[in-house]
Amino acid sequence: MLSTMPIIAASKVDEIAGKFGLAWGKFFAQVIIFWIVFMVLKKFAFGPILAMLEQRRQRIADGEAKLEKIARDLAEAEKNAKNLLDKANDDAARLIKEAGDSAKSLAEKRQQEAIHEANQIIAKAREAAQLEHEQLMSQLKREFGRMVADATSRVTGKVLNSDDQSRINQETAAQVSL
């Protein structure tokens, strides 16, 4: 009985194959067409498209990396700019303070110089006034001596010589003290 089983099974397989039209030629034709589709898709679709997707993914990743770097650089630049501004503000404040101090000191110096100059001018003016006063007094004495001599000559009716005039002038000047 066992020996008949493979024969029965084989006949069943043949029956099923016949019913469903199974045949090696048809089977291989289908397999070959499928593998041609496989090669077509692999060559013309999957390969280029996966490469393109990878390229795009890489570009996006690069873009993201660049964006992060730009953000980092921007933050760094902002930090640097802030530091520079702070430093500039400090420098400016220091310079203004120094300029203020310097201006104050210069003003005081200029004021002292002006005072000194004014004092010098006053002293000079005083000296000039004193000198002028003395000149005027000397001129007045001489005029007064001449008037005394003139009056003496008129009173006495005597013509005074130069020695008399000189003596009268000296006596008058000695008598007049202003």
């Binding site: 289908q30 499928f34 589709v37 496989f38 679709a45 498209i49 393109m52």
Partner: protein, 281 residues
């Protein structure tokens, strides 16, 4: 009654292998070639329409495959799995084009009408031909075998299949080893019948869909010419939408199962893989 559609593809005369399903398979090849060439000609970083569509499809499929088989295996397995999905989907939907399965040769019954019982359609989707579905299943099986041996080796595969798990020693270890040896035999049987289940599932669904559409179209054939005409349009219409869904679903199921088979056999033991959930869908 499923007598309207023959379970076997009709020979077209010139050669025995040139059947109506082979003609459609060639059409599918032409469609795939045309669109893939169109999509990848003058590719740019900012994609044009055809490129955008294919990129979406490939990226979506690759993501799903990668999620199942892992990053390493995805690079190797994706071309096959992607091709399976696109080929099966295109074939399934090709069968829904009006005229496919209904225009052909046979005994004239009336004006432009053939006897449905003896109709030899000019076109038949390859997925409704058992030769094609067995071819797809065996191709997947060979690629699965190649990837498995490449990843874990012959000895690794044997250990993976028959080796005891759990690390028990002594008498319990021996008992567990015997159990796992038996489980390994069952596993080998389940692996061996995978091509059968894959091919028959796909063939059965698409063939049944064709039969449903034919049956619904012919349901009112004896009710007069006008009712028959209207019935042949209205009655199969809802089933066209169902068949659209079935066509997509079968493509997904076939591809998904192949991915799972690859994942199960290429996962190393130290990653924790107990594959009890596989088998027999």
């Amino acid at each position: 009654m499923l007598a309207n559609v023959s379970p076997k593809a009709a020979e077209m005369g010139l050669f025995s292998f040139l059947t109506n399903s082979v003609i459609v398979a060639l059409c599918v090849l032409g469609i795939v070639f045309f669109f893939s060439k169109k999509a990848t000609t003058n590719m740019t970083l900012v994609p044009h329409k055809a490129q955008n569509l294919f990129e979406f499809l490939v990226e979506f499929l690759y993501g799903r495959v990668e999620g199942i088989v892992g990053v390493k295996q995805a690079k190797l397995a994706f071309p096959l799995l992607g091709t399976l999905f696109i080929y099966i989907l295109t074939s399934n939907w090709f069968g829904l084009i009006p005229g496919v399965g209904t225009i052909g040769f046979g005994h004239a019954e009336g004006f432009l009408t053939l006897d449905p019982a003896h109709l030899e359609p000019l076109l038949r989707p390859p997925t409704a031909d058992l030769n094609a579905t067995i071819g797809l299943a065996l191709s997947s099986f060979l690629v699965w075998l190649f990837l498995t041996i490449k990843e874990v080796g012959v000895w690794g595969f044997i250990v993976h299949t028959f080796g005891p798990k759990g690390g028990l020693k002594g008498v319990m270890g021996i008992a567990v080893a015997i159990v796992f040896l038996f489980v390994g035999v069952i596993e080998i049987v389940s692996i061996a019948i995978r091509p059968v289940t894959l091919s028959i599932r796909l063939f059965g669904n698409i063939f049944a869909g064709e039969n449903v559409l034919h049956t619904m179209s012919d349901l009112l054939n004896n009710q007069g010419p006008i009712v028959s005409f209207l019935g042949s349009i209205a009655l199969p219409l809802p089933f066209y939408f169902m068949e659209l869904l079935v066509g997509l679903l079968q493509a997904v199921v076939f591809t998904l199962l192949c991915s799972v088979y690859i994942q199960l056999s290429t996962t190393h033991d130290d990653h924790g893989h107990e594959e009890g959930g596989d088998h027999h869908h």
